[in-house]
């Protein structure tokens, strides 16, 4: 009996942690002005929750319970620090003073949502990009260090060090804990968007990980984008980002076949696409469009929407896709966007037009993608021998063994046509 109860409590703690870790940390950072201490104290509170919720039954207001427990744990930690003659900041002194008022939050709804401040702090441009991603996943999303390390194919020790250093940097560099002023909000939001996008692409196109699609990171990215949209509902690009992630994620069921191999857009079984997600993505994109402030994420979402509407590759509105890429490229000059643009032009105006665009790209990065795109367009032009050579070359520089396998199969299939 008690074992069952313990198990139920553990599940509740895990669920509350997933949903409310960021919220609790955000409140604590606001009170303590010490990122590291807030993180540690909330961590202590989850440990306490695991111990006591099974024994005494779960509290009525779990988040309020965690926040006040974490606050007490922070005071414990400050006392310990004081005994060790370490410096305690002025907020700490106040907390240690006898007059510290008890929290008057009774229900979870009384707790202010300060996660927006937390997100902007974690995604501050003065923090190195990979550290922003790690800190956001740790502090806002509440992933464990081990989970983050696994997701980024690095050791737990390395990730632990990176997160500890980043938290220290937030404190020592004086990175503010606030939502940026209106005049800098958009620039800072871009940094938040790129962190979320990086989490998504890492999950979506894993290079080293055996599972091609790492569902955890994809889900976390969508949750983060939803959070930003709920806290800043009138930001067109935040909505555009969320729409883009949902529209991409809608194709998840068809992206990997039974052997775990990556399936290209053209070969995907479109009947397995998640039409609820597509509808949601389209609705959000429409909301973004109504705000009248276009941007790169909205454009990419619009391209993804065109693909999701098309019953097949041939029936895709490639003219429109190519036109959207032409608007996107000056704003988002990435190599993969240039390659996708070339393919779209090849589909809209004939393979030669696309091949001309591919010729202009520098292929010095040893990436499989431009070669694979070339193979695809050469094949459409009926130049099957050259296409097979291009697919072979692409297979040689593929970063993932399954991708290489697929490209070699493609080269073989193409070669047999001659």
């Amino acid at each position: 009996m008690s074992g069952e109860r313990q198990e139920g409590a553990q599940r509740l703690v895990e669920r509350t942690m997933r949903e409310s870790h960021g919220r609790a940390v955000a409140v604590l950072v606001g009170q303590l002005r010490d990122f590291d201490l807030a993180e540690e104290a909330v961590q202590d509170a989850w440990v306490d929750a695991l111990r006591t919720w099974g024994r005494d039954g779960p509290p009525d207001n779990p988040v309020a319970w965690v926040v006040s427990t974490a606050r007490r744990r922070a005071i414990d930690r400050l006392r310990r620090r004081q005994r060790q003659d370490r410096l305690v900041n002025s907020v700490g002194e106040e907390l240690l003073g006898a007059t510290t008022p008890e929290l008057d939050w009774v229900t979870d709804d009384d707790i202010p949502d300060e996660r927006l401040r937390l997100i902007f702090t974690c995604c501050h441009p003065a923090i190195a990009p990979e550290s922003r991603v790690a800190l956001t996943l740790r502090s806002v999303a509440g992933l464990t260090t081990r989970e983050i390390a696994r997701a980024f194919a690095t050791s737990e020790t390395t990730m632990q060090q990176r997160i500890v250093r980043t938290k220290q940097r937030v404190t020592t560099a004086g990175i503010p804990y606030r939502v940026p002023e209106a005049d800098e909000l958009h620039e800072r939001l871009q940094s938040v968007h790129s962190v979320i996008y990086a989490v998504f692409t890492e999950g979506y196109a894993a290079t080293e990980h055996p599972d091609f699609v790492r569902v955890d990171l994809v889900d976390e990215a969508i949750r983060l984008a939803e959070l930003v949209c709920s806290l800043l509902p009138d930001e067109a690009e935040s909505l555009g980002l969320l729409a883009l992630l949902l529209l991409h994620d809608a194709r998840r069921p068809s992206r990997v076949d039974n052997d775990g191999s990556l399936v290209l857009l053209e070969d995907q079984d479109r009947s397995t696409w998640d039409h609820d997600l597509i509808e949601r993505g389209n609705a959000i994109l429409e909301r973004a469009g109504a705000l009248g402030r276009p941007g790169p994420f909205q454009l990419q979402a619009a391209i993804a929407a065109l693909h999701s509407q098309a019953p097949s590759v041939e029936e895709t509105d490639w003219v429109q896709v190519a036109a959207l890429f032409e608007v996107l490229l000056p704003l988002w000059p990435s190599q993969s966007a240039r390659i996708a643009h070339a393919v779209a032009v090849g589909m809209a105006d004939g393979p030669d037009a696309g091949l001309t665009l591919l010729d202009r790209l520098s292929d010095d990065d040893g990436n499989a993608r431009p070669m694979a795109a070339r193979g695809h367009l050469l094949e459409r032009a009926g130049r099957t021998k050259e296409a097979a050579v291009a697919f072979e070359a692409a297979a040689d520089s593929a970063r993932h063994s399954r991708e290489a396998e697929r490209l070699r199969r493609r080269a073989k299939d193409t070669g047999q046509l001659t």
Partner: protein, 126 residues
Amino acid sequence: MKYLLLLGVDGPIDGLVDPANSDNHAVLAQYQALRRDLEDSGSWCGGEALQPAMSATGLRIRGRRVVLHDGPTVGSSDRIVGYYLVDCYDLDHAIEVSARIPIAEHGTVEIRPVREQHPAMQGPAP
């Protein structure tokens, strides 16, 4: 919190302004305006332009002897041509101030937080 803003140059110029530049009075006016604003807002704690790096003297104590070195000795310090010490609300404020320093247009401003109340730098107890 206090920040030390280190003004570094990237090119061959060894000073706050390029002596070959005819537009120096405009640059100097920007420095003067920045100083005035920092003083008015109470952020100013200090700041100077430095003599060229070749005028630096390095000092080490080795075996109870003071050993001097001719020229810059601390890593990369030959690139530092001046500094500000400013009191800011947070890093964003320090970034805002640093972005107004003309040298940022061709060199670098390193924003270095000052460790406040460090026991090693505190005077004797009253």
